[in-house]
C-alpha cells in the first residue's frame, strides 16, 4: 500500500509541504553577503514567519546559502559542507559573485560560476541583494520545493562525475571522503 503510486504522491505532497514551510538555512557567510542575513532574520523582515530559520550544523540544515564569492580555498569547504548535509537539500546562490563572478570575474582564485561545482537551485541576483530580494528568492525556492522541482541534490548525485571533474580541476589536491549517500 505504501508503495502504491497514489499514496506515494500523497506522501510526497505532505512532505513537500512540510519541507516548503520549514527551511533551515545554513548560511555560508563568505564575502560581503553575510551582512544581509541579519536584517533578513530580524524584526524588520522576519524570515522566521515563513518557517525559515538558521541551522547550526550541516547535518540539520536544508538549505546551503552561499553569500558571495568563493575562492578555490573556500570552495573546498563549501563542497564539504554540502556533502555533509542530508537529503533533501538545496543550494541558494546569493549575489552576483556566485552567478558570474561579479566584480571578481578576473581574479586568479575565485570561481565564477557556482553551478558548475554545486547544483544551485535558486540564484538571488544583486550586489548585494536586499532582504526583499532574499525573501523573494526563498519564496521561489519554496515554490520549487512545493512543486517538487527543487531537485538539485538528485542532479548532483546523477552527474556526480561531471561535478567532481569540475571540482578537481580547481582543487587538484583532492583529499576528501567519498560522497556516496
Amino acid at each position: 500500500m505504501i508503495n502504491d503510486k497514489n499514496s506515494q504522491k500523497i506522501v510526497d505532497f505532505i512532505s513537500n509541504w512540510a519541507r516548503k514551510h520549514s527551511i533551515w538555512v545554513l548560511g555560508y557567510g563568505t564575502g560581503c553577503g553575510a551582512i544581509e542575513i541579519p536584517p533578513t532574520m530580524t524584526s524588520r523582515y522576519d524570515a522566521e514567519r515563513l518557517g525559515i530559520r538558521g541551522a547550526a550544523t550541516p547535518r540539520q540544515a536544508d538549505v546551503l546559502l552561499i553569500t558571495g564569492y568563493l575562492t578555490t580555498k573556500t570552495l573546498k569547504r563549501v563542497i564539504r559542507v554540502y556533502e555533509q548535509m542530508q537529503d533533501p537539500k538545496y543550494v541558494v546562490g546569493f549575489g552576483s559573485c556566485t552567478i558570474n563572478g561579479g566584480m571578481y570575474y578576473d581574479s586568479y582564485n575565485t570561481i565564477n560560476v557556482l553551478d558548475k561545482y554545486l547544483p544551485v537551485d535558486v540564484y538571488i541576483n544583486g550586489c548585494m541583494p536586499r532582504p526583499e530580494a532574499v525573501l523573494s528568492g526563498f519564496g521561489k525556492l519554496q515554490q520549487l520545493i512545493g512543486e517538487g522541482k527543487a531537485n538539485g541534490a538528485t542532479k548532483y548525485k546523477e552527474n556526480l562525475e561531471w561535478y567532481r571533474a569540475n571540482q578537481k580541476k580547481v582543487i587538484p589536491n583532492w583529499v576528501m571522503p567519498e560522497y556516496n549517500w
Binding site: K76, N100, G101, Y105, D106, I111, N112, V113, V170, I171
Partner: protein, 191 residues
C-alpha cells in the same frame, strides 16, 4: 627640527657602519629609507633592532621591477621610542630570487616570508614552514608578479558564464533611457 636631527643622526650611524647603504632623506615625515645589498640585510636589520631601537617589524613588502628584472624586498621597521620608521630595501634577481631567512630576528617575519614566497616566489633559505600559506593547491606562477596575467589565468582555469564579453558600461544607456544625468561622483568611476 628635532625629528630631522634624529633622522640625520640615524643616517650617519647607519652609513658609518654600512658603507654601501644608499639613503633617501627627502621624506616629509618620520620616514627614512635605505637601500642595501641583500648580503648585508641581516646585519643591517640586526643593527637597527639591537643598536638603534627599531624593535618592531611592521611589514615585509615586495615590489616587482619587471623592467629592470629585479624584485625589491622592503622591510619596514618602527622605533617606538623615536617614532620613526625605516624602510630597508634590497634588490633580488628576478629569475632567481633567493635571500636569507630572517625569522630569527623577528618571529613574525615568518608569516611575511611565507606570503612573499607564495605570492612572489622569493625563496628564503632556511625558512621552516609548510609550503602552503594562503593559496591552497596553487599550481600557477606566483600570482603577484607583474607578468602574471590574472584574467587570462582566470579564463583558462575557471568557467565563465557567457554574456559578460559584450557587457558594456550600461550607465550611459540607462541615462538615455530614463533621461537622468550621471551624477558627478559617478562620472569619476565611469569607463
Amino acid at each position: 627640527m628635532q625629528e630631522k636631527k634624529i633622522k640625520n643622526k640615524i643616517i650617519k650611524r647607519v652609513k658609518t657602519n654600512f658603507k654601501d647603504a644608499r639613503d633617501r632623506n627627502d621624506f616629509k615625515y618620520n620616514r627614512l629609507d635605505f637601500s642595501v645589498k641583500k648580503e648585508i640585510i641581516p646585519s643591517v636589520l640586526f643593527y637597527l633592532k639591537d643598536e638603534m631601537g627599531f624593535i618592531h617589524l611592521s611589514h615585509i613588502s615586495c615590489v616587482d621591477w619587471l623592467e629592470e628584472g629585479e624584485l625589491e624586498v622592503v622591510f619596514i621597521l618602527w622605533s617606538p621610542e623615536e617614532k620613526i620608521k625605516v624602510f630597508v630595501r634590497t634588490r633580488l634577481d628576478r629569475d632567481n630570487p633567493v635571500m636569507d631567512n630572517l625569522d630569527m630576528i623577528w618571529r613574525q617575519a615568518n608569516t611575511y616570508e611565507r606570503e612573499l614566497r607564495e605570492m612572489y616566489g622569493i625563496q628564503f633559505t632556511g625558512l621552516e614552514a609548510p609550503d602552503e600559506f594562503i593559496l591552497e593547491d596553487w599550481q600557477g606562477p606566483p600570482p603577484m608578479r607583474r607578468d602574471f596575467d590574472t584574467e587570462a589565468y582566470s579564463n583558462e582555469t575557471y568557467f565563465h558564464r557567457p554574456g559578460r564579453e559584450d557587457a558594456e558600461d550600461v550607465r550611459e544607456t540607462i541615462t538615455k533611457r530614463s533621461g537622468e544625468d550621471i551624477p558627478d561622483f559617478a562620472k569619476k568611476y565611469s569607463r
